[in-house]
């Protein structure tokens, strides 16, 4: 519909569909390299949060957007990743570059366990199952001596040998590297056999099975991969904030991640990134506005958390009612509009 027709299979499979993609990529790399020099610490910290959220959102989008398996427990996987890495680096002294994949694997393992009921359950039952799982994980974190309950745990700094990451700038390069890597992985997954199987299952699982896609394998795999992303995001989050409490991984975190992929666009890589940027940016925007109005309405600052929750809810509801394809749909429409201008199509 956008007037770009591909004549060969290779062209369709290309990761850089046209020259513009490469140009945008170069612009992005230049910005990423120079932005730590231009921006201040607060702005960099927002970008860092966005980077971590991008990784988590990509994982959730693989599950909900690509495979069509509804999950309300993504926050639990982040919690598992965060606590695994905190325990591994803190109690056992394992270096970060090992604990990061291990925390991803731990989350992935539990993701597989949650994924098994998905073979029998569909739609709302699955949503309920994942929700119950999230509550049980939160309960365990609160009541286990190892995780120190609501006292929370201190997490070590990221260090490789003697080199320790301290400043926001160093965090920025690290997190951007991981976020970019996650995007590339997802993009590759998307255009591979696995990604196509996921989409086939989402569109019609019975037909997919008839086409020779082993449903059980791919459904469980979707849970595993999604939980891996969540675990890695949780691990980065723990090392970035350097303090974790179970309360920060509750149902509202899962809702925030769902809001990301819904506003961004289900089943698209670009959508996950846009959604992560927007939803992470919203609370900072609220804080900014409240700061501006503080002089006139001093009581306003007590309502920041309420506003945050309400705006997330509003974003989810309004997007689903009026723009189900999310920001990605808007982007696509504008692109087509300019490409075919002055004609309608």
């Amino acid at each position: 519909m956008s007037g770009s027709y591909k004549v060969s299979y290779k062209e369709d499979m290309a990761i850089f569909q046209n020259l513009w993609v490469k140009v945008w990529l170069i612009i992005f790399i230049i910005l990423a390299v120079f932005s730590p020099i231009l921006l201040n610490r607060y702005q960099l910290s927002i970008l860092n949060e966005m980077g971590i959220a991008t990784i988590g959102a990509l994982g959730l989008n693989l599950l909900i957007g690509y495979t069509g398996q509804l999950s309300l427990g993504h926050g639990a996987f982040l919690a598992i990743g965060a606590y695994t890495s905190a325990l591994l680096t803190g109690k056992l002294g394992i270096p970060f570059f090992l604990s990061l994949p291990l925390s991803g694997l731990m989350a992935s393992l539990l993701g597989l366990v949650v994924g098994i009921p998905s073979l029998r359950l569909k739609g709302l039952y699955l949503a309920l199952g994942t929700l119950a799982f999230a509550f049980i994980v939160e309960y365990i974190l609160f009541h286990w001596d190892l995780t120190q309950g609501d006292l929370g745990m201190a997490v070590k700094r990221i260090g490789i040998g003697d080199y320790v990451i301290r400043s926001q700038r160093q965090y920025f390069y690290l997190i951007m590297a991981f976020a970019t890597f996650a995007v590339i992985c997802t993009k590759n997954l998307d255009r591979s056999k696995i990604g196509r199987s996921f989409k086939a299952i989402r569109d019609r699982d019975i037909a997919a099975e008839a086409m020779g896609i082993p449903l059980a394998k791919y459904k469980v795999m979707a849970f595993g991969i999604s939980a891996f992303y969540g675990g890695v995001a949780g691990c980065l989050m723990a090392h970035y904030n350097r303090w974790i409490v179970p309360g920060s991984f509750d149902i509202s975190l899962s809702i925030a991640y769902i809001a990301m992929i819904i506003i961004g666009g289900l089943g698209t890589v670009l959508g996950s990134v846009l959604g992560a940027i927007l939803i992470t940016g919203v609370p900072h925007g609220i804080v900014y506005v409240v700061d501006l109005l503080k002089g006139d309405y001093p009581a306003l600052s007590g309502f920041i958390i309420d506003f945050k929750l309400g705006i997330f809810g509003l974003i989810i509801v309004l997007t689903l009612l009026f723009e189900p394809k999310g920001l990605f749909g808007v982007y696509q429409r504008t692109k087509v509009y300019f490409k075919t201008w002055p004609f309608k199509y």
Binding site: I64, L72, F133, W144, D145, D306, G310, I311
Partner: protein, 299 residues
């Protein structure tokens, strides 16, 4: 023995609340195909409205209860009108997500209006007890169980005997055919939403009576979902029985498992997760619940 009876009784009184909330889930799910994740939030809003009138404005308890019910019904029909009328037949994830979003919005409103503190609802049953046969019951629990059982009987009569109830049942069974038979399906959906949120409001006020009015009351809604699952999502008696079972199991677990410690793991506040454990077990073993019909659809 007396201890067991007391635990059973306190379990039944919380179970009656779960049953009421689960009834709301089942009613809305059965007729509109939407699983309302905001049921707990509706319940909380109802309790806050009752608190607003009874405690803050000093209006008699019964009257403020009735006002809360009326406002709850209004809120329910408004929700249907604003959101779910457009969403009938949409994919299941979008309807679920809209209710989740709605829950956040309702929590936001109650936080903005009433704040996040813990309040007590002033009611005629506060801190009063009845002793019978050497056991002590709180009046609030007795009242909760009594009124709930009355309500359940009324509901079953309503759905089987009255014209409107039968129309609602017909819409739930097959909305297309019901529409062809001259039933106004949109109106029926609106009535169901009103009834569903009314039930939630009643549950919220009962819950406030037994504990406090606070924002985190909405978690009870999610716990009640396990009652609905246990009973089978489509069955009204199932929801009621499931609610009582979940409440009683929870009460027993809270009494006999709390305070245990195993390998550094404390089983404190176990009543927060019993319902979820039940939910997972039911989903694993018998996803269609006790009374639900098994959908034969293998994939």
């Amino acid at each position: 023995m007396e201890k067991i009876l007391e635990v059973l009784f306190s379990g039944a009184s919380i179970g009656a609340i779960y049953a009421l909330i689960a009834l709301g889930f089942v009613l809305i799910f059965k007729s509109t195909g939407i699983l309302n994740f905001a049921q707990g939030e509706l319940c909380m809003i109802g309790a806050f409205i009752c608190y607003q009138f009874a405690t803050l404005l000093n209006i008699p308890y019964i009257l403020s209860f009735l006002i809360a019910i009326a406002l709850g019904a209004l809120l329910g029909s408004l929700i249907d009108l604003l959101f779910f009328r457009r969403l009938v037949g949409e994919p299941i994830y979008s309807t679920i997500m809209v209710t989740v979003g709605l829950g956040s919005i309702l929590t936001c409103f109650s936080g903005l209006i009433w704040g996040h503190d813990v309040y007590a609802l002033r009611s005629p049953f506060m801190n009063k007890t009845v002793s019978a046969g050497g056991m002590i019951f709180s009046q609030a629990s007795l009242y909760t169980i009594g009124i709930s059982i009355l309500l359940f009987a009324l509901f079953i009569l309503f759905f089987n005997r009255s014209l409107l109830g039968v129309a609602l049942k017909g819409t739930a069974e097959d909305s297309d055919t019901a529409g062809l038979m001259g039933i106004n399906v949109k109106k029926m959906h609106m009535i169901i939403w009103a009834i569903g949120s009314t039930v939630a409001v009643v549950a919220g006020v009962f819950l406030a009576e037994q504990s406090f009015v606070q924002t985190s009351m909405s978690h009870t809604g999610i716990k009640a979902m396990s009652a609905a699952i246990l009973g089978g999502m489509e069955s009204l008696p199932g929801a009621i029985i499931g609610g009582f079972i979940v409440g009683i199991v929870e009460s027993f677990a809270a009494n006999y498992l709390s305070g245990l410690e195993m390998a550094g793991f404390h089983f404190g506040d176990i009543k927060d997760v019993v319902a979820f454990a039940i939910m997972i077990i039911v989903l694993m073993i018998r996803p269609h619940g006790i009374f639900g019909k098994e959908e034969v659809k293998r994939v």
